[in-house]
Amino acid sequence: MTALELTDIRHSAGGREILRIPALSVAAGGRLLLLGPSGCGKTTLLNLMAGLLRAEQGHVSLNGQAYDTLSGRALDALRRKYFGIVFQKLHLIGHLSVEQNICLAADHPDKTYMHSLTDRLGIADKRRSAARNLSHGEAQRAAIARALMNRPAIVLADEPTSALDDAQADNVSRLLLDETQTAGAALIVATHDARIKPLFDTVLELAP
């Protein structure tokens, strides 16, 4: 069953066409790796998928619902319900605690679920720490927990491993794969890091 579908996408930025995608679909619970060098438009593509950007041409739809038929408000609601996003720069809110950051993703946060997430991700003892005091690894785990907190259908992760050594990169990738599998969510990772290519069954290589 297809969850996310992109057709005839063309998008430009700064007066230059950076994305041209004739057709791309991700099934419910599927895994997709978007691989390409820096500046090829990976983040832009993730933004189109999450409805943070509207495609200049072509259509994005989720479960058959085309984004261009939705109002901005409806798109915000759709994102809140179906998507979890791990940003390239993580973007935790520094003055809030890890727990508060994670719970921001859900309207009625399920505290038990939050506890099990932080337990599994190994940051249980950091729940009450301010996000700004976390190490990079801890912040990354907190960001992954936040992306899963609303039990999304699709998790988008932008360069989750680029700043990490081999062991850490492998570890974070497995965390993402395991957690999305446990949650039954599709996982779409955008990276220029070819090390994690073997972990994905579908890989889309984007041209520079």
Binding site: A50, A77, H91, H95, Q100, L104, R146
Partner: protein, 418 residues
């Protein structure tokens, strides 16, 4: 996490700027409250002390000074007037009641007022202990003077607390009045003759004056009507004072309030002043004082609004990532807009609450230091509500522009920055 606690956390993350906004708001509100409170208390006192007195008659000079000295006991008198002159007007057909006052001395700053029992009755003051004065140098103390029944004291010359004292002649407190909340609480009452005796004024036996037929007639008329306490049973014959300081007059018609002063000022060596008129003129001046304090509080509240604007607008750049991530987490534009308005409102509400506490405390502390106002109870009124609304609207207005800017920002662009 509720939007309100999210807004409060954001404010706490920039404590100094937030505190500055709260304090500025609080000072503006406090200032406005004190202005409102003092204006209300002063007006109340002006109304209460001046109630029922239509005309004040005294020596020529400033009419405002005459009213302030004789009615509010807040200035020195314009001089003394011959009792015979005053008496002509006391028995004028348009005069319903005339209360003589003789001023000149004080005890520890409390004025000693030579008068008749009508004066106490006018303010509804009754002896809580003892009785009213009868013989000379018997005194009745107002509730706020601190004098006790049976205590003796000597009057000091003048109306301030530092005049030389008349040590050779002591007053004896024969009564203490119950509290009335009016100016009489801070006065010491005695007979007119007691005050004048200390100042070497001749007093003439009453019977000598009865040669004047006119006076005689009216005197009895007066007695029959309501001046029963004018004369008490003395073994010696009642004496009439040669001079008094002022007459407080109640007229029979509103028209007389205008006509009587006119003819007194024209036809006699006396001066008549209309207290309502003089106090209106005074509050036009006094109003300037409260108005400029009002401007200062408006200025402070304006500065507070500016600091709220600066605080929120200035934070937008450093937290654009935080706000963008909220958008990415599915917070709509309207929700972000509301979040920032909430920050402005929270700051003003905090400042408002603190300002009210400081204003109430400030009034409680300041009121005793300004004796003319006495200890007034706080009087919350509709102005407080308007003040609160004005301040909240100012806070809302101050956060409007930054909130709009945040709501319009493009999250995708902001998230790829930094």
């Amino acid at each position: 996490m509720s939007d309100l606690s999210l807004a409060l956390h954001a404010l706490l993350s920039r404590k100094i700027v937030s505190l500055l906004s709260v304090l500025l708001t609080a000072f503006g509100v406090m200032m406005a409250l004190v202005v409102l409170q003092f204006a209300a208390a002063a007006q109340q006192r002006i109304d209460r002390d001046g109630k029922g007195v239509d005309i004040v008659i005294g020596a020529k000079g400033s009419p405002l000074q005459l009213v302030l000295s004789a009615l509010y006991h807040a200035d020195i008198p314009t001089g003394n007037i011959p009792y015979t002159e005053a008496e002509k007007w006391m028995h004028h057909p348009q005069v319903k009641q005339a209360i003589p006052l003789a001023l000149g001395d004080n005890w520890k700053g409390f004025r000693i007022v030579g008068t008749t029992a009508d004066y106490a009755a006018h303010y509804g003051a009754k002896p809580a202990q003892g009785q009213l004065w009868e013989a000379e140098f018997e005194a009745v103390a107002g509730a706020g003077t601190g004098l006790a029944l049976g205590q003796t004291f000597s009057g000091a010359h003048g109306l301030g607390a530092d005049g030389h004292s008349h040590d050779h002649q002591l007053y004896k407190v024969v009564g203490v009045l119950g509290p009335t909340g009016s100016v009489i609480d801070r006065l010491i009452l005695t007979s007119v003759n007691s005050v004048l005796a200390l100042h070497g004024q001749e007093t003439t036996p009453a019977h000598e004056e009865h040669g004047d037929h006119d006076d005689h007639h009216h005197h009895h008329h007066d007695d029959d009507d309501h001046d029963h306490e004018h004369h008490h049973d003395h073994s010696e014959p009642a004496k009439q004072p040669a001079e008094i300081t002022a007459l407080l007059v109640k007229t029979r018609s509103p028209l007389a309030n205008i006509n009587l002063p006119r003819s007194i000022n024209r036809d006699s060596m006396l001066q008549a002043a209309n207290p309502a008129l003089e106090m209106t003129r005074l509050s036009a001046v006094f109003g300037l004082g409260t108005r400029s304090m009002g401007y200062i509080s408006a200025f402070l509240i304006g500065m507070a609004a500016l600091s709220i604007f600066a605080g929120i607008a200035g934070s937008l750049d450093s937290r654009s990532g935080d706000l963008a991530v909220l958008r990415a987490l599915g917070y709509g534009r309207h929700r972000l807009f509301g979040l920032l308005l909430m920050e402005g409102l929270a700051l003003t509400a905090g400042g408002l609450a603190l300002g009210f506490v400081m204003g109430v405390a400030g009034f409680v502390l300041l009121a005793p230091a300004i004796p003319a106002l006495g200890a007034q109870a706080l009087q919350p009124d509709i102005h407080w509500l308007w003040l609160a609304l004005t301040v909240l609207v100012a806070g809302l207005a101050a956060s409007l522009l930054p909130a709009l800017r945040a709501a319009r920002a493009d999250p995708a662009q902001l998230l790829s920055q930094r």
